[in-house]
């Protein structure tokens, strides 16, 4: 089985988000970048397929040379090869088109992406790839087993979960649950050393249309001070929730 894990390079979850002075772009100053958490759960599941079922695992991302440390991290975790599509990832449609081309040329059986990136939250890349490649697709996937050509996946739904059966080739929009948080791998020194020798191919991007353009950004309005209620006076809390907030 040949697996492609699509990873996105995103600000660490603890990052404070700032925008440029003219509010037209995200300001990466002082921000630590990591593998998108939803993608990392998928990457870790792919490592399981590598160890138990002998799968070959490649990782791909769309970005400038600045994203290479994130690809190297994925290689240090255990992916066999990296692919960087040399372009700024302008929007989901553009990114999906680039990744679909990698899938088409690479003959992958299983493509694992995250259900969304935690930065732009587009949530569209795996679904768009599935449409472009006419492949089966399971989103919000929290469990995946593959036997030969058959796959069993569980997806999270609002208020529960659904078990699905399908066949390869298959695209997955993964998230937490695909593996446990405690299964996530921190690269060790040996992995980091080995990653330096692994193949990282840079491919040129294709001309592709964009579906969206973020024209400007805004931070949420600052919150007013909290109204504190004494624990001995909960009637006041109920009164505030009812009359002021109209929340109950």
């Amino acid at each position: 089985m040949k697996i492609l894990v699509c990873i996105s390079n995103v600000p660490d979850t603890t990052s404070k988000i700032n925008f440029t002075a003219d509010q037209t772009a995200f300001d990466p100053t002082g921000v630590q970048f990591v593998i998108n958490p939803n993608d990392e759960f998928g990457l870790t599941r792919a490592m399981w397929f590598k160890e138990k079922q002998g799968a070959a695992v490649h990782v791909a991302t769309v970005g400038s040379v600045a994203v290479e440390p994130t690809i190297r991290k994925a290689l240090a975790i255990g992916a066999d090869e990296g692919i960087r599509i040399d372009a700024e990832p302008v929007d989901g449609l553009f990114v999906a088109r680039q990744l679909a081309e990698v899938v088409k040329n690479g003959g992958y059986d299983l493509i694992i992406a995250g259900r969304e990136s935690i930065d732009y939250n587009g949530g569209m890349v795996p679904g768009m790839m599935a449409a472009m490649l006419d492949m089966n697709f399971v989103n919000t996937c929290i469990s995946l087993e593959v036997e030969g050509n058959k796959a069993t996946a569980i997806r999270e739904i609002d208020g529960g979960k659904e078990t699905l059966e399908t066949t390869l080739p298959l695209i997955i929009g993964g998230q937490k649950g695909l593996v446990e948080e405690s299964d996530l791998k921190i690269p060790n020194m040996r992995g980091i050393m080995m990653a330096r020798q692994k193949k990282l191919t840079v491919v040129p991007s294709l001309e592709a249309a964009e579906g969206t353009l973020d024209t400007r950004f805004e931070k949420p309005a600052p919150k007013g001070p909290v109204k504190l209620v004494e624990p001995t006076n909960l009637d006041e809390l109920i009164e505030l929730l009812n009359k002021e907030a109209k929340a109950i």
Partner: protein, 322 residues
């Protein structure tokens, strides 16, 4: 020309977000000077959409869609777009709607945005406001191409009634074999329990509750308020509660009217996930807990004393106020 609303249902009945989506579509159709058309699948009373200003319902009766299928739904919507000449497609931001809309956007090679919080600030070009950076910011996003696919954030826009009559028209879509390449074999859904996605009120517990055996009062408070229960990331990582209850940046997003956080300190990732909630109440022993800075109302006190008393007082309040 039209605005097309994808209205979700379950067992023949519309979900609440179907009416939110219909309301949004109707208002956008008015701005564009056109009509709002809805797609309803296996619904018993499609005419209900007339109360929200939908003028025409494309009613689909299809046994193979009794269980939601994202690819087939995308395929159906693609055909409905062609039949109605839709300039915009409106969906909810539910798990199912996001699943189908991303495929639809790939099929149409159009612009798609979800978690949209208000009507477009401009319709030519089409620019909408949406949450981004996991609720740490908002983006104003221009949608290129036609139709524009807009996923409306739950609870952000609300239901706006507008009396009218919806014409019901049966709509037959053609499906290919690959539309049903994914088969549903089991569904595990908690019946009679409010889901985090649909809830008006969410009651959430953190590590301050000390152990899973103490969740009884969280569930009781949720029951009094008709709320969904949720938890912080450490609680789900410790296995005290299922992952499906984890809310925050890497868990489920919450956009409820009221969010009550009990024994949750308020890490930046948690706050990001729940920021879209309108009113936030924090109950915590530590007055320095960062969550107090993000909350509307706070009680500095021991949850094991405050919550049981709050339950009693809310029961009295509910008894008096229906």
């Amino acid at each position: 020309m039209s605005v097309l609303a994808y209205t979700e249902s379950e067992n023949g009945t519309f979900k609440k977000n179907a009416f939110e989506v219909a309301s949004y579509a109707r208002q956008l159709a008015e701005s564009l000077g056109t009509e709002a058309i809805a797609v309803a699948v296996n619904v018993d009373q499609p005419e209900k959409l007339g109360n929200y200003g939908i003028s025409r319902v494309l009613q689909v009766s299809e046994d193979r869609l009794k269980q939601f299928n994202a690819r087939a739904t995308a395929s159906l919507l693609k055909q409905a777009v062609a039949a109605s000449g839709a300039q915009a497609v409106i969906t909810s931001s539910s798990t199912d709607a996001k699943f189908a809309a991303s495929i639809l956007a790939g099929m149409l090679k159009g612009g798609y945005v979800n978690n949209v919080v208000s009507q477009p600030e401009s319709t030519s070009p089409m620019v909408v406001k949406r949450t981004a950076f996991s609720n740490k910011g908002f983006a104003f996003t221009e949608l290129k191409g036609t139709p524009a696919i807009i996923g409306v954030s739950n609870n952000a826009f609300g239901m706006v009634e507008k009396q009218g009559t919806a014409e019901i028209e049966s709509f037959a879509a053609d499906f290919s074999e690959s539309d049903f390449g994914i088969r549903s074999v089991a569904l595990d859904k908690v019946a009679d329990k409010v889901t985090i996605a649909d809830a008006d009120v969410v009651v959430s517990g953190g590590r301050g509750l000390k152990g899973p055996e103490n969740w009884g009062m969280i569930e009781e408070l949720a029951e009094v308020l008709g709320a969904a229960t949720a938890c912080s990331k450490p609680v789900s990582d410790l296995g005290w509660r299922p992952h499906s209850e984890h809310v925050g940046q890497t868990g489920k997003p919450v956009a409820s009217n009221l969010y009550i956080a009990i024994g949750i300190s308020g890490a930046i990732q948690h706050l990001a996930g729940v920021n879209a909630s309108k009113t936030k109440v924090v109950i915590n022993t530590d007055p320095e807990a960062p969550f107090f800075k993000a909350a509307d109302y706070g009680v500095v006190g021991d949850a094991f004393e405050v919550v049981p008393e709050l339950i009693e007082k809310l029961k009295e309040f509910k008894a008096q106020n229906g």
